[in-house]
Symmetry: D2
């Protein structure tokens, strides 16, 4: 028995203007030339700052690619396109692009620099990539990024709905840890208290200042990043993903109208927490109220029937993954909450 | 450039009654016989629970030792006394005993189980031991414990002053990180943002519920423990120790009347934070007010003259360690605060 | 600066009858169900021993696949076919099947058990997989196997030509290390003396008993395996692959009649070593003479014209990879050796 | 189940004139100032080369110490004497000095550079230090050195008896691995085949050129160094130390006339191997004959009576350590060998 070895990012920079220093962060450890993958529709001005910074520090751009498909097959094609001279892979933008960049870097054995331009979920610093394989969604191991660069100014200016999505993903840590504890008691699933405690800590940290100013953005970024570290310590996604993620996956699989990941998991966490012991339901409710989370949901309400189907399918989405949904017929309770909870008015139709 | 490898505890258990399960935690990985070091004056009833648990799980006790000297020389003597058959070393109690146990385990190459019975400082899960060497206080590298067992019930029943000391030690993370940032800007000292962010997060986490009930105790234990992880990530004590610790060390070196470590560092953090930018001074003040921290200080007020001497000596206590005290003549400002801040009434004499 | 962290196999078993214990090796750490990939045309009796052993130890077989294409695209297809319930991936057979199994395990994040049934090259325990990507051959990072099981009896009974191939691959470590040293002097390529020394050691070890009895097979297996460890320490293929591998790659790329990898690299190493300083040429010659290496070559002689083209192409096969071929027009010298060296009579046509 | 993580030296340099580059090796990673510990009676000219090299590369010497006591107590005193400004600790010389330097570096958490000036045993690159504690000899964990610098010229010019001692220590790997295998079969002691195979490999490697020229010295240094790596992989001294070391320890404990460690373990390995299965006895005999090992023994013959007592005591020297001596009354057989083996004529009296 020894201490457990984990790998954490070598470089973490969170500050306004960090994007302008991207080239510097790559130049110091001599990581050029690089390949840069970015999101479809990423604002040209953000991209220009990144490219200018590479140029300013003489980091050659061996490949630039706009990601429009988040599949293993696409990552493999990109692996073939990355020139052997590349010393690092940089991902700029949001969920899909970062997942593809992270996975391609892992396939190629290259250091990966994550540069999220919004904080809509915890994927920018998690040890897994969420990609489709033969059309089916999969979580694939990648290790944590070597570097995480968060430009607080850029993230502050991102659409408010993405911020709400990040908050939704963060709040689902409460329900994930509760499901993990339940799986430990019911099925003997090994629990890692250190990971669970870090996961929990991150939500409290953000709650200390749940606003979208620079400080709040830094807290949210930190919280989401520490979730990734918790997953690495646990060696599984358990500290960050429980029944609320199953429901979100089921929604995606059922072909429900696509909504932001964190709006789905956040809403599911709010519902699921009402089934779990403790005060998480109240805490999540308070967090969502203070941050205006429900406003983003209301802009395009969920379909109740789609949720009913998803909640029924959720327990079978992931093999051998015990959660509160494994032992409770949840929908009747959820339906009641949806019908009577004043916070949810206008969130479902 | 790769991700950084760190070692974290293999087992972390925080719950009421954890002490009764000590033997089980050792028996599962077959870590017997063991040596057990405990604090001088540790309550017999606590010790009995630990010993009974070992017996219940057939973990032989090869050596039992009451620690009354926290020196390297003593750790070496104990190294000689630990029988070669020992498979692990267990430390039960508070600061000194745990430091000696951790260091002896490191010398012997044995897994170390930390079992704090109060939360008066962050030493129970830090990668260093604070011991004297030839009479001088030193911080010596040990790595993190293999296991951390916190019985929340036992810690909840510990004297309130020890709880206040833990809160004081925790609050000093704010000033430590501010000093680290300053040292980066002034002297180019490498900063690890991940460690700094974790360190910061831990204080916010506790602030969400700064009371001494079971949940509050769990949050404090987690926060102090994550500080240790932050030190391990940083590869230095910078995320947990800055100018406020220099002042506390100087008090100790000057032979001031001995007070609890965390009462010293907490008070110093309150004073130092008034010199640093940001809102840490206000936050620490609020935390101390809510938790009644100053009451424990007032029970045996500090001597103003001793503090004056310590503040003057502090910048030279640690070689090559830049802090706010390296560039500011702090005492006049501190003297003003002591004289006029109503929170400090009765804390100095 | 710290010591470098490397990962080595957790389990290594080399003995006659090891294959019959495969199920036991998986059952102890509870690694079932498993997926098993094997070589095309693997002897049914060998396969039966493996399958029977799984059954004897109640290790369920979730997927069994005969590998007939060594491409990244195929590995990705197999990733889709491996059921989520799988706890480990087992590769049984020779080069291609083991490369595909190792890569698929890496993609899936599953522990990988390498079970070579012959020792024709060092791929069974290297941190890379050699696969095609869009038809082009690539070396892709995988990490070392978690377990290496070598049934000495099975390997002893493998065709003699495969044994010769393993010897050829092993002997190319001499030329690889010499090229590495040259690249250090000419281009400042970082050299890792520990890796180079291990690589060198492995050849000497085998030379102490270069016969195909049980002991010789064990020495060859050990030597090839330590090459993998040397690559892991170096963080590159440099300790195992130099100009002789470039020539072999060029032969493959030029569409020369396919021959066993180690017959190509061994012959190339013999030729290249005549250009390098030191006594490697003589040592390799002696090794090949004692083991009858050239007999296997003579069974299907190489085509001189194909080799001429390959040697000319070799320096440009791998970008930014300095070897003796980068500074020497090697073919005239090779042509002379082929024409006049009595050992090579009948090896080229 | 994961691959096992081990730590290997970051820098290994073996070449003539390496000592003159010591300063350079320290300057590159900016490891100054340093503390330098050296052997008592180390040749002034060797020391001058080291000191000059430090000066040439502007590496300040914060402490220089001549080691004359190999005890934990002394290492602790030296820990107190090493200034906090030190960035690395350098050990120059032979056994004792290197053990004290390695242990002090470990206590201080400083990178350790091992610079052996002879190859009389495998301690220069092992993860343990052999020191006395309260007068009793102990093996204490240290981790491997961060850097190993072997000046082949300096080692070549070391007294021949030291070379013989290194060969003796190396040959004891045969008997150590045989004892380990026996302990596995008799007591279920976990065996690590990778470590055992590396250990075995190192002896064969040296046997390929068992002479004291530059190449032979390099092979011996490599072989001894890889033994250290094997111990690190095994997590114990088993791959390098068996019953032959118990006999040597017993000789030391009995207060026998002190002889070089490797002359004792080598002679013991020769005797012990006659009890073990396999051809190790013959191989060791051949190695000793070719290298003139016995000549160094004959210069000051062992005392037969001291050996008799040591062999009887050996099984109880180390608690819970099964070897061939645990099941065999070895002395009668040894006495016969000593009396009748012509190789041993003049070696005992």
């Amino acid at each position: 028995m020894k201490t457990a070895q984990i790998s954490v990012p070598w470089l973490v920079r969170m500050k306004p203007g960090a994007l302008q220093r991207l080239g510097l962060y790559l130049a110091r450890p001599r990581l050029g030339p690089v390949a840069l993958f970015h999101s479809e529709g990423l604002s040209q001005s953000i991209l220009d700052v990144a490219l200018q910074s590479l140029q300013d520090h003489s980091i050659a751009l061996a490949l630039r690619h706009e990601v429009n498909e988040a599949s293993v097959e696409e990552a493999v094609r990109l692996l073939g396109a990355v020139p052997p001279s590349c010393k690092a892979l940089v991902g700029v933008g949001g969920g899909k692009a970062l997942d593809v960049a992270k996975y391609t870097a892992s396939l190629a054995g290259l250091p990966y620099f994550a540069v999220p331009t919004s904080l809509s979920n915890d994927g920018f610093c998690s040890p897994q990539a969420s990609l489709t394989l033969e059309g089916k969604r999969r979580s694939l191991p990648t290790g944590l990024p070597e570097a995480v660069i968060v430009d607080l100014g850029v993230c502050e200016r991102a659409p408010r709905m993405l911020w709400h999505s990040g908050i939704g993903d963060l709040s689902s840590k409460f329900t994930a840890v509760a499901d993990w504890t339940l799986a430990f008691h019911r099925r003997g699933v090994a629990i890692n208290d250190l990971a669970a405690l870090i996961s929990d800590a991150t939500v409290f940290q953000f709650m200390a200042n749940p606003v979208s100013d620079e400080r709040g953005i830094r807290l949210l970024a930190t919280a989401l990043m520490l979730n990734g570290v918790a997953m690495e310590i646990a060696g599984s996604s358990r500290p960050a993903s429980g029944s609320e993620h199953l429901i979100s996956h089921a929604l995606d699989m059922n072909g429900a109208r696509p909504r932001l990941h964190g709006l789905q998991t956040g809403t599911a966490a709010y519902l699921v927490s009402s089934l779990q012991r403790g005060d998480h339901h109240e805490r999540i409710g308070e967090l969502f109220a203070r941050t205006g989370f429900w406003e983003s949901v209301r802009k395009e309400p969920f379909c109740k029937e789609e949720w009913r189907l998803a909640v029924e399918r959720a327990p079978s989405v992931k093999e051998d993954f015990y959660t509160i949904l494994s032992e409770t017929d949840a929908w009747p309770e959820f339906a009641r909450t949806i019908a009577h909870d004043s916070a949810l008015v206008g969130c479902f139709e």
